[in-house]
Symmetry: C2
């Protein structure tokens, strides 16, 4: 397929690509300590082994009562109840409460058998020893968390396929799950090409440059739950590239090739992907700047992505596409709802219609609000992105925005 | 200080707290491999040891020329240039280009000495061997990246105090920095209190609950670049709490105590913080729900935070306050510009004026747009937050929002 005869719009490219990938995960499962599971994806439904809470608890400091004993109580005509002790936090409430009696209770302590509500301390008064005045009535259940109000025994509390955050880790530990089954991280093989590319620890000779794409992409992959494997630099040799891609195809769940910068080098990637398996190349060139020369292929259920060689394009397109692929490898669908920052443009930004334009910007806040200043620089210059902390997307049907326009910036 | 006589608005509370902390960092410095430095904070200014690029490069596939040789060229009247070879990518261009000659060049290859521009392949034609027709003129510098166009030798390319992302890692490697000096992670001591609290690997007796706050807060701290140290569960004993807080004050950069749920247990935290050093407690109670019983103190330059015992409050207030404190410990100021998702409310949400109301919501996207559904549940129930993926903030001057309103949700 010749390059760029037809550029595919970004969303269409992603949709077509995902439509050719299995929706269910084939990742293996491993057991890990729950407290180390942040960002991992749950591989089994979690059923509550017991209700939460396991005992009725007071939500306030006050007096445990039978609600009927407080009916009609007011500041002018308090209800009088006999004080019979105190329930300490963390201690089982052994004494049963009977009508006309009350027990001092603290927030979080267990409600005594027989009690069905708690009157807040502020709504009571102790005038003489052993007697409490109730100044306001309470309803049954008031100021009490019931058994199983958070979670019922046997309920599925977290479903397989959920990415674990602080709250899931807390929920698992609350139920006593100190170990948890998660999917192994998808393996992502990263291959660099280009005769001019040398590893970062080598001093480049004249006309050579250091490989940085492997490492910026590794960073994106690790942050989105993948395990990146650097498979080396292929130069511009078809044989070496083919061998590296074949290995990655055999051993990894996703293959990424960052192309050499010339057209002939990019053609190598397309050639190798096309020979790898069916259905082959699905998208060759997307309507985005930077990042046009992107190739998306699937070979025998393994996704393969050819990214542009220049570091800014690789990073922008990588950030856009790789999280969705990793989610799919986990069998997850994205929930949608994009995250952005609203800011006021400091200068005009022009854009060519017919492609999505991703423009690096610097966002900052002062007493006048949030501002976004476009960072100018060619798409080959990595330090353009070092100066940026966001991307302004100018959609394909727009010619740009004027200074002063309120725009949406993707944090980057 | 008695509890909650006066609730401090959230931003005022954070500002007052930060105003009492040193603005410069006192963290130690360590050297780590650059490829492992994601999220770490740079401890030294990075100066470019050489320019980037180090040689002038072509940005297109085409022909290197002297621009003056192309002036006036057109499809009707091409300029004719003698072809004298090809420059391979990664190979130094040794041949000097002289007037009336041209050299085939690929994207990313080194511009030969004597050349000052590149004509794109599409703007040329080869009719007979050894001769190239130039169909469009180019200006000096066209289709060329000059030496030092990204970075000049000796320029400060990344300043100390910057948090390292994919692009900084790429930039560092492009300049050959395979090791980098970063600040050690701030140490955060986490102490749980409450006589009812047992570690998560213990089966709670009746009236006891498992500690989960230590672990949800650990998650927030780790994700924001801190190193959390679990210093144990203090029960409701003043002596134990005092001993744990003293140790943390001696050894850590930030002390967090998650309070027992009762007022008396919370008073313990206040008592211990007040005795710890000057200026002592700065904020006691903030105008937020959930999270009102929050204590902010500084003792001899060490910040100390008392968080509510209930897991939802601890997680909401922790997410709100801890990142700003960690940034400050690194000597960084936040750049501002909050990140949010825009969504349409599915039902009415009521709120009490006079405090910021943080309401858990579930956000999802379908063909009709992005929706947010409030999750109802008491603030003590951790699984309320498991069901949520965002927080709706209802500011203190509002009584809530109606169904159908477009609102802003903080991803959570």
């Amino acid at each position: 397929m010749p390059e760029f005869l037809q550029l595919t719009p970004v969303q269409e490219a992603i949709d077509r690509f995902l439509a050719n990938l299995p929706t269910e995960t084939h990742l293996s499962i491993e057991q890990i300590p729950t407290i180390q599971s942040s960002g991992r994806v749950l591989a089994e439904d979690i059923l509550a082994p017991h209700p939460l809470p396991e005992f009725a608890r007071s939500t306030v400091d006050g007096y445990a009562v039978q609600a009927t004993d407080t009916h009609g109580a007011s500041t002018a005509l308090p209800a009088y109840l006999n004080l019979s002790g105190e329930i300490h936090i963390g201690q089982p409430a052994e004494q049963t409460l009977v009508s006309t009696y009350t027990i001092l209770i603290h927030t979080g302590a267990m409600l005594p058998p027989g009690a069905d509500a708690v009157v807040m301390l502020e709504d009571t008064q102790q005038v003489k020893t052993g007697e409490i005045e109730i100044l306001h009535p309470v309803a049954v259940g008031e100021n009490v968390i019931q058994i199983a109000e958070d979670v019922k025994e046997g309920e599925i509390v977290i479903q397989a396929g959920r990415r674990l955050r602080a709250q899931e880790i807390g929920g698992l530990l609350a139920l006593g799950f100190t170990q948890v089954s998660v999917y192994q991280r998808p393996r992502v093989g990263i291959i660099s090409t280009g005769d001019e590319v040398v590893p970062p620890d080598v001093i480049p000779k004249l006309a050579q440059v250091r490989d940085i794409n492997s490492y910026t992409l590794q960073n994106i992959i690790n942050r989105h739950g993948g395990e990146s494997i650097l498979r080396g630099i292929a130069g511009d040799s078809l044989e070496t590239l083919q061998a590296l891609v074949d290995t990655s195809h055999r051993e990894d769940d996703l293959i990424i090739v960052t192309a050499g910068s010339s057209v002939s080098a990019r053609d190598l990637t397309a050639q190798v992907f096309e020979a790898l398996g069916k259905p082959g190349i699905l998208v060759h060139g997307i309507a985005i700047k930077p990042g046009k020369p992107t190739i998306l292929a699937v070979a025998d259920n393994v996704p393969a992505v050819g990214l542009p060689g220049n570091p800014v394009s690789a990073l922008v397109v990588g950030s856009l596409i790789l999280p969705a692929i990793l989610d799919r490898l986990y069998g997850m669908s994205t929930e949608g709802g994009s995250t952005f920052i609203e800011a006021k443009l400091t200068t005009n930004v022009a854009s060519q219609a017919g492609r999505d334009d991703y423009h690096p910007v610097r966002v900052w806040e002062d007493e006048n609000g949030v501002h976004a200043k476009p960072i100018y620089g060619r798409s080959n210059l990595i330090f353009t992105l070092v100066r940026a902390n966001g991307l302004l997307v100018i959609p394909s049907d727009s010619n740009g925005y004027e200074a002063g326009t309120t725009i949406r910036v993707i944090p980057f």
